[in-house]
């Protein structure tokens, strides 16, 4: 006998503005099996939840339907409330009246009717619900952090300092990420390397952190608390234990003209190289794509030179396996190159550079030792133009979003230039100055007021070369769109911040959602900013969207605290929505005939065939068995099963058919 309570939330006016909530409650009360129904302003609020709890107790309800916002938002809230009132939480279902009704339809009868239909659908579902008990699974208290930029470093240190093991994996030969490339940082103008390198060293020395550089995630299987990660450790072609990091090999390598990634192509490196002097670990790797030995089969100069005999030219990639309980993605971002802009010369002008290249020019450790010299002829530019939004906020050719960090770093660049080239002229073409942040606006004002950087409000239409100058054609919209031409010596494009080139591939490997720009999707834009839709996988830094350093660090600490929270128990409870193969009394035992189709289809290898024995121990049948620890509840097996012997708790065929039937029969 169903004793169901229906609770209709107004969500302030979010639902009630288009749905007649009172009528929904009224109609619900007439539905078969519904004992109690009521509407209320904010069902998720304390009084709202109490309303549910009291009704459960008072009317001895055995099923609850809450019609409110998306179940993806408050299903746990309401299920907990039910549990507190003594009702099994899986006897509570949510009808989505906000995201799927009130926010997408106009006010009217049809909209209210849809709301009623959805309530009826879930009432019928609840009638077929069964109390379920959560599954407990053990937690491996070891975290995997992918990406060794400032985000990954911060997350690793936080987790390690809380006493847990961390595997930190970095794709490049050294950790440090983009932050290690920066000269000074806004709004304080303190030196990036000076604040970063101590942290890098701390990571390397931390007893709880295993640092694996020059490595990438090969695969990730399993689920929260119980992941199995395979890491491909690319061959560095050296024996790291023997190598002392003396660097002699790098001086002897004949292949010296390779554009340096660390210097954004403005400097060169050798084929065996340490990316930068402060690298961690400070040991070289051989770039197999460039090394003469690997490309042409001879050379081996480094091998002959190495005093420690640490060169291993026959080294192969290694696959390392780890059991981990949580994963932090901190894979960072990338910037678009200058070749991306047709009107700025398709990358043909050497002296049109990106912001990241300018960082290297301004950095004391950079190719010019911190002097601002233009790449083409090494001259110190007398006129320099900074172009904001080069690709950002440009739906036609670039990306529609704002890259967020450019306004600030452009101001910083212009300032650094003026500090280094006192007689020089710096121009900034901008559309809006977005300087929200502590001391940010003040910083930009300083660039304008104290350092006399000329800010011109307008976008640059074209850059072309004439007589060794770069002609920048812009306009001053504050002067009514008056065209302006500047014959600059160098142009810096604040190119858009975009997702890492392999972001999509990684997302698919670990099964997290990502947006159309390949940035990783947080579980909720406001309330779950570091979680992903996949439990146990967290986000830190600009892999989620472009971010500056303070934000990245804050997010990394946030992700770390989520991991530490998860590791605070040795077990965790998991949603019992998993597949189950029916079992019956003898002589049937089960209707499963053991055809094994589900076994081959299961993405988690959670199903196997087992022998069913009678009381005497004779094997009477072979049938499928679902390992509850491995099953994730996708239900692919259910759709395959011909004899309908397997079903998924919470989404049983009986429940779904009841839903469909309720939806379509509204008379």
């Amino acid at each position: 006998m169903s004793r169901i309570g229906v609770f209709i939330c107004h969500c302030g006016e979010n639902i009630s503005a288009t749905v007649d909530c009172e009528r929904v409650a009224r109609e619900a009360s007439l539905m078969e099996g519904v004992l109690y129904s009521i509407d209320y302003k904010y069902m998720c609020s304390d009084p709202g939840q109490n309303l549910i709890k009291e009704a459960i107790k008072e009317h001895n309800l055995n099923g609850v339907v809450v019609a409110a916002c998306s179940p993806r938002m408050h299903e746990p809230t309401f299920r907990n409330a039910c549990a507190e009132a003594g009702l099994n939480p899986y006897m509570c279902e949510i009808a989505n009246l906000r995201e799927h009704v009130s926010w997408v339809h106009e006010k009217g009868d049809a909209t209210t009717q849809k709301a009623i239909d959805l309530v009826r659908m879930l009432v019928e579902k609840v009638k077929n619900n069964k109390p379920l008990l959560p599954i407990t699974v053990p937690v491996t208290r070891r975290a995997l952090v992918l990406g060794g930029g400032i985000g990954g470093i911060q997350a690793s240190l936080d987790i390690a300092n809380a006493g847990h093991q961390v595997i930190l994996v970095e794709r490049d030969p050294s950790i440090g990420g983009h932050m290690s490339q920066l000269s000074e940082t806004f709004p304080t103008l303190d030196c990036s390397q000076c604040i970063l390198t101590p942290r890098m060293v701390e990571v390397a020395r931390h007893p709880n952190i295993t640092l694996i550089t020059y490595a990438e995630l090969e695969s990730l299987e399993g689920f929260i608390g119980n992941f199995k990660a395979k890491i491909r450790k690319k061959a560095k072609s050296i024996d790291e234990k023997l190598c002392t990091g003396c660097g002699l090999c790098t001086t002897k390598c004949p292949n010296k003209k390779i554009p340096s990634e660390f210097n954004e192509g403005l400097g060169t490196r050798t084929a065996i190289y340490i990316p930068f002097p402060q690298a961690v670990p400070n040991k070289p790797v051989i770039d197999k794509t460039q090394c003469t030995y690997y490309t042409k089969g001879k050379c081996r100069l480094c091998e002959k030179t190495c005093p420690a005999q640490a060169i291993r030219l026959d080294q192969e990639d290694e696959i390392l396996e780890f059991d981990v309980g949580a994963v932090v993605l901190a894979t960072g971002f990338n910037v678009k190159g200058t070749d991306f802009f047709p009107e700025y010369g398709y990358g043909n002008y050497q002296d049109v550079i990106t912001g990241l290249q300018f960082e290297r020019l301004a950095s004391a450790s950079g190719p010019t030792l911190g002097e601002i010299r233009r790449p083409s002829d090494g001259k110190i530019p007398e006129k320099i133009v900074f172009v904001a939004c080069a690709g950002s906020r440009d739906p036609a050719k670039g990306i529609e979003y704002c890259s967020k960090i450019c306004c600030m770093y452009i101001a910083k660049h212009a300032m650094l230039y003026k500090h280094k080239v006192h007689q020089g002229n710096a121009y900034v073409f901008y559309m809006d100055i977005r300087a929200g942040g502590k001391m940010y606006e003040e910083f930009v004002r300083r660039a304008i007021e104290e350092d006399d950087v000329k800010y011109i409000r307008g976008r640059v239409s074209r850059i072309y070369e004439r007589n060794g100058k770069l002609i920048v054609k812009g306009a001053d919209t504050l002067m009514g769109g008056k065209p302006i031409e500047i014959d600059a010596d160098m142009v810096v494009l604040a190119t858009a911040g975009v997702a890492s080139p392999k972001a999509e591939e990684l997302a698919q490997k670990v099964h997290v959602s990502y947006d159309q720009h390949n940035f990783y999707a947080e579980a909720h834009p406001k309330l779950k900013p570091v979680e992903t839709n996949t439990a146990g996988i967290f986000l830190a830094g600009s892999c989620q969207a472009p971010k500056d350093i303070p934000e990245t660090v804050a997010m990394a600490s946030g992700a770390a605290s989520k991991v530490i929270g998860l590791f605070s128990n040795s077990e965790l409870k998991r949603d019992p929505s998993i597949a189950v193969v029916n079992r019956m009394p003898p002589p049937t035992y089960t209707t499963c005939v053991g055809c094994g189709l589900c076994v081959t289809a299961c993405p988690y290898q959670a199903i196997q065939l087992e022998d069913i024995k009678d009381r005497k121990g004779n094997v009477v049948k072979r049938a499928a068995y679902v390992n509850p620890g491995l099953c994730q509840g996708c239900g692919t097996c259910v759709a395959f099963c011909r004899s309908k012997s397997i079903d998924i708790e919470g989404y049983t065929s009986q429940q779904i058919v009841a839903e469909i039937s309720a939806l379509l029969n509204d008379e």
């Binding site: 047709p342 010369g345 398709y346 072309y464 070369e465």
Partner: protein, 280 residues
């Protein structure tokens, strides 16, 4: 079906050498063609400035005529006419009601499926594959390929190659033996329709183009638009007055350049009709 050719007004009047050279190379490469019979003016800039409907109807009539002749493809050497025909075709593609109205206005059925080709497309598709073997007198000069506006913009209608730095003409010129120069004014506007009414603007804009070409070492400008040619060639005196500089750089139609490389008599290519003598 032979290729239909729409000459347009300029190519039968002030820019007849362009048509002459187009015909010369079509004949040399044995590409059968017929003119669109009883063609009318495309309306050019004047029509879309003053009268939207006329601006759409005039090209529609030309499309209808060509289709009536049974042609699948129509070559429009004049960049301005090409631009008008293409944009009319796109509008009709997007708006079936408009297509119906226009069909009624011109009193002819309109399928609008005909493929409208500019001179570069015809050259790339039918001439380039056989070009190498026919070259008699390779060109031996540095050429600035000038594309102008109407051939490349708007990109979403014309689907030309790189909008800001197109390459198709450069590639052809290279086959002819000339050296295409890298320069910055490939697609800047020459002043176009203002040749009579605002000669001062034309002189300034065309002057900028000549200056940039010359400074990048070009010995000839290669064009594919009669308006560009008129401004850069016939307005040379005005340009020199406006810029205070002398220019002897000739302006040659791409088809003329091909004819020259093929060894065709300069007179047949209409080179004698230029104001600035072609002596390279």
């Amino acid at each position: 079906m032979p290729l239909a050719v729409y000459p347009g007004c300029s190519l039968t009047g002030s820019s007849r050498e362009y048509m002459e050279s187009v015909e010369q190379i079509l004949k040399t490469f044995e590409i059968p063609y017929t003119f669109v019979e009883d063609w009318n003016c495309c309306g050019a800039t004047a029509a879309h400035n003053l009268n939207r409907k006329v601006a759409e109807a005039l090209p529609a009539r030309i499309i209808a005529l060509a289709e009536k002749q049974g042609a699948d493809e129509i070559l429009v050497p004049c960049a301005a006419c090409y631009n008008r025909l293409k944009s009319s075709q796109k509008k009709m593609d997007e708006d079936k009601v408009l297509k119906g109205q226009l069909s009624e206005m011109v009193g002819m059925p309109l399928d609008n499926g005909i493929k409208i080709l500019n001179v570069l497309e015809v050259i790339e598709q039918s001439i380039v594959p056989k070009l190498n073997e026919k070259i008699q007198a390779p060109l031996n000069f540095k050429a600035a390929c000038y594309y102008g506006c109407l051939l490349v913009r708007p990109g979403n209608v014309l689907n030309f190659d790189r909008e800001e730095d197109p390459q198709s003409m450069d590639r052809i010129v290279e086959i002819l033996g000339a050296t295409p120069v890298k320069w910055s004014f490939k697609t800047e506007c020459c002043g176009a329709g203002f040749t009579v009414s605002r000669t001062d603007i034309v002189s300034r804009l065309s002057g900028d183009i000549l200056i940039d070409a010359v400074e990048h070492g070009a010995q000839a400008l290669i064009v594919a638009c009669p308006m560009c040619h008129a401004n850069l060639d016939m307005r040379r005196k005005d340009i020199e007055k406006a810029t205070g500089r002398k220019f002897d750089i000739p302006v040659i139609y791409l088809t003329q350049a091909i004819g020259m490389a093929l060894g065709i008599d300069h007179q047949k290519l209409g080179l004698n009709r230029h104001f600035v003598p072609v002596s390279i």
